[in-house]
C-alpha cells in the first residue's frame, strides 16, 4: 500500500488496474479523457495485460463493452455528460443482458447551454437505465468504489453493470492523498471473475438478450432486473464489510456525518458533500445540532436506510446538484417518496445548487441551516429554492446586455 497524491481520474484508473480488467473500449471526452489515457499507458507498458481499443463513439464503446462482457471477461470503460447520453440507448439495452461490468462517469452538466463543469443531470438521466449507481465524494472513493463495484456487479445475486460517478473538475482534475491498495490484496478482495454461466463458445451456441414479444413474459424479466438491483443493497453491505476488514476504510450506503443525534441534516451526493462536512464542523462549533447524510449509492435507492437515518430529525435540506425541468430536484423527490408514510418524518426542504459547477459557499450552508430551524419552529417549510445570488443575477443581466437581448425585443416592437 502506498499513499500518493492522485487526481480523481487517476484514482478511478487505478481502480480498474487493480481489478485487473481484461478489456477497455474507449472514447475521449472532457473531463474524463485522463482516465483512458492513463489506462492506455498501462496497457502500452504491459502493466495491464488485456485489450485496449478505441472506438468511433460512445454508442459503439458501450456496445463493445457489453459484447465483451457477455463472453465472461472483466470489462471497464469511462465517459461523461453528452457522451453518456449518446450511449444511453445502448446503456438501457445492455443492462438487461444481466452481465456485469463497470463504467465510470465523470459528471459534467448537459447542453444546452454548453458547459464543461460538473452537475448530476448527466448521471441522473441514466437513473432508470438499469445500471446500479455508486457516487464518490473523494478521490480515494473514486478508486475504492470501482473495486467494490466489480464485487457487487459480479455477485450472482445481482449480475448487473454498475456506474461509478465522480464529479468533473472537483474530483477529476483535483489531486488528493489516495491510498493505493497493494495489488495482491486488491486481487484477493475482488477475487477471480467467476463468470458462472456467462460464456461465449463457438461450439456452444447461446443467445443473449433474446426478444420477448409478450407483455407478461417481458414483465417477468424486467421485474427480476428490479429485484436484482434491490439485492445490491445487502451485497453492497457485505462488500463494504469485507473492504473494511482488508483496507480499514468503512463505507456505508449512506454516509452519516455527525447526523446521529442531530436535529437538522443536509442531504447530498457527490464531491460537494465534503463542503457540507466543513460547514457541519463550523455549525457544531457554533452550537447547532446539524449533520450530513450523503448517498453513496443512488441505484438502488437505499430507502429503508434513509427512513431510519431521518427518523426523529426536525428538518432536512436536500441540496440537489441537478434539476428536472418542470419538477425540481431528483434526490428531493425520491427522499420525499421514501418518507411519505413515515410518522416521525422531518420537514423536507428542497434546494437546487451547484448546477454547471456553480460553487456552494460555507455561508450558504449556514443560511440553509437557519431555514431548517425556522421550518421546524414555524412548522412551515419554505418553497424550493435555487442557490443564486443578487450578484449572479446582475452578471446575467450584463451578459444579456452584451448579447443584445433587450435591443432585439425593442426592434421587434417598433
Amino acid at each position: 500500500m502506498k499513499r500518493k497524491l492522485l487526481t480523481g481520474n487517476a484514482a478511478a484508473a487505478w481502480g480498474a488496474r487493480l481489478a485487473n480488467v481484461d478489456y477497455v473500449p474507449a472514447f475521449p471526452i472532457t473531463p474524463q479523457t485522463e482516465i483512458i489515457e492513463t489506462l492506455a499507458g498501462w496497457f502500452d507498458e504491459g502493466a495491464l495485460k488485456g485489450r485496449f481499443v478505441t472506438l468511433d463513439s460512445e454508442h459503439s464503446m458501450v456496445t463493445a463493452a457489453a459484447s465483451a462482457a457477455v463472453t465472461g471477461v472483466r470489462v471497464f470503460s469511462a465517459t461523461s455528460s453528452q457522451g453518456l447520453l449518446y450511449a444511453s440507448e445502448m446503456l438501457y439495452a445492455v443492462s438487461g443482458y444481466r452481465v456485469p461490468w463497470v463504467l465510470v462517469n465523470v459528471s459534467r452538466g448537459l447542453s444546452s447551454p454548453v458547459t464543461l463543469e460538473a452537475d448530476h443531470n448527466d448521471i441522473f438521466a441514466l437513473r432508470d437505465s438499469g445500471f446500479l449507481q455508486l457516487h464518490a465524494s473523494t478521490c480515494q472513493e473514486a478508486l475504492d468504489m470501482v473495486l467494490m463495484a466489480y464485487q457487487i456487479a459480479e455477485d450472482v445475486r445481482v449480475r448487473l453493470p454498475v456506474i461509478v460517478n465522480i464529479d468533473g473538475f472537483y474530483l477529476s482534475f483535483t489531486r488528493e492523498p489516495v491510498e493505493i491498495p497493494d495489488e495482491n490484496k486488491a486481487r484477493e478482495f475482488i477475487g477471480e471473475f467467476d463468470a458462472h454461466n456467462i460464456s461465449f463458445r463457438a461450439n456452444v451456441p447461446l443467445s443473449h438478450a433474446s426478444a420477448v414479444l409478450q407483455g407478461s413474459i417481458y414483465s417477468y424479466f424486467r421485474y427480476e432486473h428490479h429485484l436484482a438491483a434491490i439485492q445490491a443493497i445487502s451485497v453492497f453491505n457485505e462488500s463494504a464489510e469485507k473492504f473494511e476488514k482488508m483496507f480499514n476504510r468503512s463505507y456505508a450506503l449512506i454516509e452519516s456525518y455527525m447526523a446521529d443525534g442531530a436535529d437538522y441534516v443536509f442531504i447530498m451526493i457527490g464531491s460537494f458533500a465534503t463542503k457540507a462536512k466543513e460547514a457541519v464542523d463550523m455549525l457544531r462549533e457554533a452550537g447547532s445540532l446539524t449533520g450530513l447524510l450523503r448517498l453513496r449509492m443512488f441505484r438502488p435507492f437505499p430507502e429503508e436506510e434513509m427512513k431510519k437515518l431521518l427518523k426523529g430529525k426536525k428538518a432536512a435540506a436536500v441540496i440537489d446538484q441537478n434539476l428536472a425541468p418542470g419538477k425540481g430536484g431528483v434526490i428531493y423527490t425520491e427522499t420525499a417518496a421514501a418518507l411519505c408514510n413515515e410518522k416521525e418524518a422531518p420537514f423536507l426542504i428542497s434546494y437546487i445548487g451547484g448546477l454547471g459547477g456553480r460553487d456552494i459557499t460555507a455561508e450558504e450552508f449556514y443560511e440553509i441551516e437557519k431555514e431548517m430551524r425556522k421550518a421546524a419552529e414555524t412548522k412551515k417549510p419554505p418553497m424550493a429554492r435555487l442557490l443564486f445570488s443578487e450578484a449572479e443575477l446582475e452578471a446575467v443581466r450584463k451578459l444579456q446586455g452584451i448579447a443584445g437581448v433587450e435591443k432585439k425585443n425593442e426592434q421587434r416592437k417598433n
Binding site: T174, E278, L283, E367, R385, S389, E390, V396
Partner: protein
C-alpha cells in the same frame, strides 16, 4: 489550513508549480489538495492553480476564495481583471510577484495594504518556453514564505513532478527554485494559516429567486453581432507576430486567410495589419507567409517598450 493560489498563463507551468508545492507539502506530512483551473482556454490565457494544505483531511473544495498566499508568476496578469489575481484578498493575504520591480513599486501601483514580496525573474527570457523558470522561482519562493517546507522536500517534489523531463531540465529547475528559497530566508513563515468561516458571524448573503422571463429573454441566444470582439483575446498572447513591410510582397493575403481569429485585415494600401487586441499569438501566419515577412517577438518586451520602461 494554508490556502495558496498561483496565477499565470496557459503554458507557463502554473499547473506544475501547484503540483510541486502540493507534493512538497505532502512530503512534509500535510494533507493536501491541489488542482489547476482552466476552461476552454488555450496557451497564453490567464489560468490559475491552487493548493490547500492542513493537518486534517481537506474538506473544502473548488476555487480558493480567501487565499493566504497569492503567487503571481506573470506580472502582466495584474492589469487584467479577468485574471482574478485580487479575488478575495484580505489584509493578511501575502502577495508574491515574480517581477524585476520592487515591492514598494507594486504597493504604490496597486494601492493595497497586503504584504507584497517580489523577486526578480530568473533571467531575461526570450520565448514563452523559457518562461516556466519563473514558475520555479515561484515554487521556491512560496516554499520559503510558508516556512514549513524543507529544501530536501522541495527538491524531491520537483524531481517527482518533473520526472518526465531530462535530467538537465530538472536540475535547472531545482537550482532556480532553491536560489529563490535562499533569497527569501528573512521572510520565512510569514504566510499564516487561515481559519474557516465562522457560522456565528458571517456576512449574510442575498439570495434571489430569478423571475420568470419568456423565451424571448431567457433563451441562451446572442442577438448582437460582433460580440466576440469584446473578448480581448490579444491578452493571451505571449509571442507577437510583426509584419515587416519591407519584405511583404502584398501577396494574396495568405497570412490573413489562414489566421484562425480573422485578426489580420488589409488597410487602404492593401497591406496586412495585425489586430493586436485579438491576435492570440498562434503564429500560424508566420508559418504561412511565403516571403517569411512576419517575424516573432516576445510580448513582454514589446509591452515594456510601449510603456517606455
Amino acid at each position: 489550513m494554508y490556502r495558496i493560489r498561483l496565477h499565470g498563463r496557459g503554458g507557463q507551468g502554473i499547473k506544475t508549480a501547484g503540483r510541486i508545492l502540493g507534493e512538497a507539502l505532502f512530503l512534509e506530512k500535510y494533507e493536501v489538495q491541489d488542482a489547476p483551473r482552466y476552461g476552454a482556454e488555450r496557451r497564453g490565457a490567464p489560468i490559475f492553480s491552487y493548493v490547500r494544505a492542513g493537518k486534517k483531511p481537506i474538506n473544502e473544495r473548488g476555487i480558493i476564495l480567501h487565499p493566504g498566499l497569492v503567487v503571481v508568476a506573470d506580472e502582466t496578469l495584474i492589469e487584467i481583471p479577468a485574471a482574478g489575481v485580487f479575488q478575495g484578498i484580505a489584509e493578511n493575504t501575502v502577495f508574491f510577484i515574480c517581477s524585476n520591480e520592487s515591492s514598494d513599486f507594486w504597493r504604490k501601483r496597486l494601492g493595497i495594504d497586503s504584504q507584497i514580496i517580489t523577486l526578480s525573474q530568473s533571467e531575461e527570457y526570450d520565448t514563452a518556453l523559457d518562461f516556466h523558470y519563473n514558475s520555479s522561482v515561484c515554487v521556491g519562493a512560496a516554499g520559503r514564505l510558508l516556512g514549513v517546507i524543507s529544501k530536501e522536500s522541495l527538491k524531491q517534489a520537483i524531481e517527482e513532478e518533473l520526472s518526465v523531463f531530462e535530467k538537465t531540465v530538472i536540475e535547472k529547475n531545482i537550482e532556480i527554485s532553491l536560489k529563490a528559497y535562499d533569497e527569501l530566508s528573512s521572510y520565512e513563515g510569514i504566510v499564516k494559516r487561515g481559519v474557516g468561516i465562522s457560522a456565528d458571524s458571517y456576512r449574510r448573503l442575498n439570495w434571489v429567486e430569478p423571475p420568470f422571463e419568456g423565451a424571448d429573454i431567457s433563451a441562451p441566444a446572442i442577438y448582437d453581432s460582433g460580440t466576440s470582439e469584446l473578448a480581448l483575446t490579444g491578452l493571451w498572447r505571449t509571442l507577437r507576430p510583426v509584419v515587416n513591410k519591407e519584405l511583404c510582397a502584398l501577396c494574396w493575403h495568405l497570412c490573413g486567410s489562414f489566421c484562425p481569429d480573422s485578426a489580420i485585415y488589409l488597410d487602404e494600401d492593401g497591406a496586412p495589419q495585425i489586430d493586436y487586441e485579438h491576435c492570440k499569438g498562434c503564429l500560424i501566419c508566420v508559418m504561412q507567409c511565403p516571403r517569411r515577412a512576419i517575424s516573432v517577438e516576445a510580448e513582454h518586451k514589446k509591452t515594456k517598450e510601449a510603456k517606455g520602461a
